[in-house]
Structures are given as C-alpha cells and as structure tokens.
C-alpha cells in the first residue's frame, strides 16, 4: 500500500430546479424587499468603456422548445481584454465593468437578455489571442450540472478563424453552434441542449 492522496472531493452538483429564481433573482419572481436588486441584472453604466451590445439568448430542449425556467450567467473581459478578477495578473480592468451578469429566461417567451459591452481579446495559454468571446453557464430544471459554453461573434470572422478553442472542435460543422448572429446592436444566440444542432459544451 502507498500513501493515499486523501483529498476531499468536489461537492457533487445537483439541479438548480424550477424555482432557482427564489435564490438567485428573487425580485424577478416577486420576492421584494429582501435584496435591493437582483445580482448581476445591470452590467454597464455611463462610464463603462466599450461598444454597447445586447445579447438575445434562448435555450432549446431536445424538441426545439425554449426553456422558460432556465437561468444564464455570463462572464467576460472588458473592452481591453482584461478580467475584473483577483486572478487577472496583466493589469487593472475597467473599474466600471464587473464582467459578470445573470439573467433568467422569460417565463412566457423563454428569451434571456443581457445589455453589456463587446469584450476585447484575451490571450490563450501560449500567448496567441483568442477571439472575442463571452463565457456562458446555464442551469435549469433537468440540468444536473451547470453547462459551460462560449458565445463568439459573427462579425469577428478573422479572429474566430484563428481561435485556439474553436480550432479544437473536430467536427467543423459544429463550430457555428458557438457563433451568435449580429442583428443591429444585438447578437442572437440559440443554445440547443441536444439533437442535430446541439451546441458544443465544454469540460474545462
């Protein structure tokens, strides 16, 4: 017998369930007066640097129906490609941009909206630049462990073509599942949980 590494294991995940709003967006579901506002509801202010964009996201199940009880969190760099995080060692990010947002899908339409800025490029591990992207984390009833993916932008074709993560996708036809289409000042992005158009999800 050898010594055991004897490390604690990560707590196993469980679904966020259909009432996730009570805990994470209580004002959205009518629980007023406990918190002044829902965390992550506002991402930009007048002083935030960068191009204002909207994100219009839907999450679709295996029949193509939009989830009306999902919740999405996004995490992104500022306009200069810096993260507002203690682990960011390259410099101070825009103090007027936290970089994190949270939004439930609409209970009637399933549409999930964010008003944010377009992120700058962030280096990959070897120093090459990744294409501008936003990290998404999706939870809902029926999802046992939060799903991790990225949103890239349709008007960044050249950068997308050089992106080291997109380059890792073996079946090239699936790359398009991570690219949001520009419509005016907003990007439209459908996340397919399963089926032919299934979005690429990450283990990272």
């Amino acid at each position: 017998m050898a010594q055991s590494p004897d490390r604690p294991k990560e707590s196993p995940s469980q679904t966020a369930g259909p009432y996730v709003h009570i805990g994470l967006t209580p004002n959205f579901c009518g629980i007023d007066g406990v918190y002044a506002s829902d965390l992550g509801a506002t991402m930009v202010n007048d002083r935030t640097k960068g191009e204002r964009i909207g994100l219009r996201i839907r999450v679709l199940d295996g029949t193509g129906a939009p989830l009306k009880d999902a919740l999405i969190e996004i995490w992104q760099a500022d306009a200069d490609g810096l993260y507002n995080s203690p682990s960011e060692m390259r410099g101070a990010a825009d103090p007027n941009f936290h970089g994190w947002g949270r939004s439930p899908t609409d209970m009637e339409t399933g549409l999930c909206s964010f008003e944010t800025i377009k992120p700058g490029r962030v280096p990959f591990r070897d120093g090459r630049l990744m294409a501008p992207h936003i990290t998404l984390w999706i939870v809902a009833r029926g999802i046992n462990l939060g799903l991790h993916t990225r949103l890239y932008f349709s008007d960044e074709e050249e950068a997308n073509a050089q992106d080291p993560i997109l380059a890792r996708i073996e079946h090239r036809v699936r790359v398009s599942t991570l690219i949001a289409e520009r419509q005016g000042d907003a990007y439209v992005f459908d996340i397919h949980l399963q089926g032919e158009k299934e979005t690429v999800f990450f283990d990272s």
Binding site: S11, P12, Q14, I22, L145
Partner: protein, 250 residues
C-alpha cells in the same frame, strides 16, 4: 484585483479536472426532465484558459444585515417564520482542504410545509406570510459561513406518480475562478426520503450522496432557540503555479 485589506497572493494555477463520474451525469432518466435537457454529444475538453481561471468577486459591502437570517429577512416587524428553527453552518473548502475566503453563497428553500414562494409552485400547502425563502452570505477568512432559517418540509413533485423531494436547501457557490461555479442541494441527516429521490439518485456513488447530507451538530445549537446542522462545501482545487508553463502567455 484583490479586495481592500487582503494580503493574499492571488492564485493563478489551473483547476483540477472535474470528476464527472462523481457528479451526476447529464442524462438520468429516473429524473424525467433530464431526458430532453441533456446533451448527447461529448463535451469539448481543454485546460483552463484565463476565461475559466478568473472569476467575479463580490464585496462584503453588498450583504445586508439580515441577508443570512431567513427567519426574519421577509418577516413583518416583530414576527418570524414558522417552523423548526435551525442554524446551518460550515466551511467552503477546495479539494486541497484549504478554506475558500470571500466566496459568495446564495441559498433558497421551501417553507416548513414544503411550499415555495414562486408562482409556478401550485402545491396546496400554504405560504408562510413571514417567509420568503432566500438568503446569502460571504465566507470569512477561513472559508466559514453560517445562516439561520427554518427546516424546509418535503414536497411532492410531478415526476413519478408519487415522488417526494427530501427536505433540502439549494446552494449556489462562487469560488475564485468561474470554473469553480457550483449549484448543489443540502439534505438532512436521517431523512428516509433521500434514498428514494430520483434527483439524488442521479449521483451514482453512495459516498458522493453522503457528501450532500448535513449532520446534526449539537455543539452549535442555541439552547432553547435553534438546532444546528453542519454542511461543508468543497469546490475544485487548483494546481500550484510552480510548474506552470507561462500560463498567461507573457
């Protein structure tokens, strides 16, 4: 950057890989909603980039005085929620056994009768006018946290013809990197419904289920006031940067 007053050197190493045999898989047919909401294709694996290594931090200033007291944070003045009064406390650790300070914890639950304050919950058990069901806190320097609430009741749900959720409290946790993001549920020691639940049953390893069961902690009770349960939460650990090869590509 670091919170004011913190003298800790930020860590930048990659997170330990998730053990997806330990977590419930995406498709757990006994939990029917997972059937159409589970990806069927393989996940794309890659070592963390800056996008996963970094994560948002939340300052203690955002926490209100009663955010960690569910007995009172929705109650009318002078009143309190009905139910078995409990303290839930513990530590947020990582897989190295190190406390995670400054971690935002959010929690939500049904009331003592198993009814959620949510318009989609049509269970006939009544709402408690003095109970909202949400709370939050930020861990201290050693990763410790505590809150006060009432023990939630079990409730029936439309899955099998007669499925009941065990009493549980939902937890949402932020560590220091977005890759540590976790949502889970806490169960109560001795509840016979735990081992009949299809959501719990999605976890294959008995030891993993046991890691979600809080122990009755008589040392931490408040005599003549509240019982106590201890619940530790473990987040992904991270490698030392000693042997990292230019992680930021500088």
């Amino acid at each position: 950057m670091s919170e004011p007053g913190s003298n800790r050197t930020p860590e930048t190493g990659a997170f330990f890989q998730r053990d997806r045999q330990w977590h419930p898989p995406a498709l757990t047919p006994g939990y029917k909603s997972s059937v159409l909401r589970s990806p069927q294709k393989a996940l794309l694996s890659f070592d963390n980039t800056l996008s996963e290594l970094t994560g948002p931090v939340f300052g203690h200033a955002m926490i209100g005085e009663r955010d960690n007291d569910l007995i009172h944070n929705f109650a009318m003045p002078g009143e309190s929620a009905i139910g078995e009064r409990i303290i839930v406390h513990g530590r947020v650790l990582d897989e190295r056994g190190i406390g995670v300070p400054g971690a935002l914890l959010e929690f939500w639950q049904a009331n003592a009768g198993g009814r959620y304050r949510h318009k989609k919950d049509g269970y006939l058990a009544p709402l408690d006018p003095n109970f909202g069901g949400c709370g939050r806190t930020i861990t201290g320097e050693d990763g410790s946290y505590a809150f006060r609430t009432v023990r939630p009741g079990p409730y029936p749900w439309p899955n099998g013809p007669n499925d009941w959720r065990p009493a549980h409290i939902h937890f949402s946790v932020f560590g220091h990197g977005f890759a540590q993001r976790l949502i889970t549920q806490m169960y109560f020691e001795g509840d016979p419904l735990i081992w009949r639940c299809p959501i719990v049953g999605g976890i294959r390893d008995k030891a993993a289920v046991e890691a979600l069961i809080a122990a009755l902690d008589m040392q931490s009770t408040i005599p003549m006031d509240a019982l106590a349960y201890k619940f530790d939460i473990v987040l992904r650990g991270r490698r030392s940067t000693l042997f990292e090869n230019r992680p930021e590509g500088n």
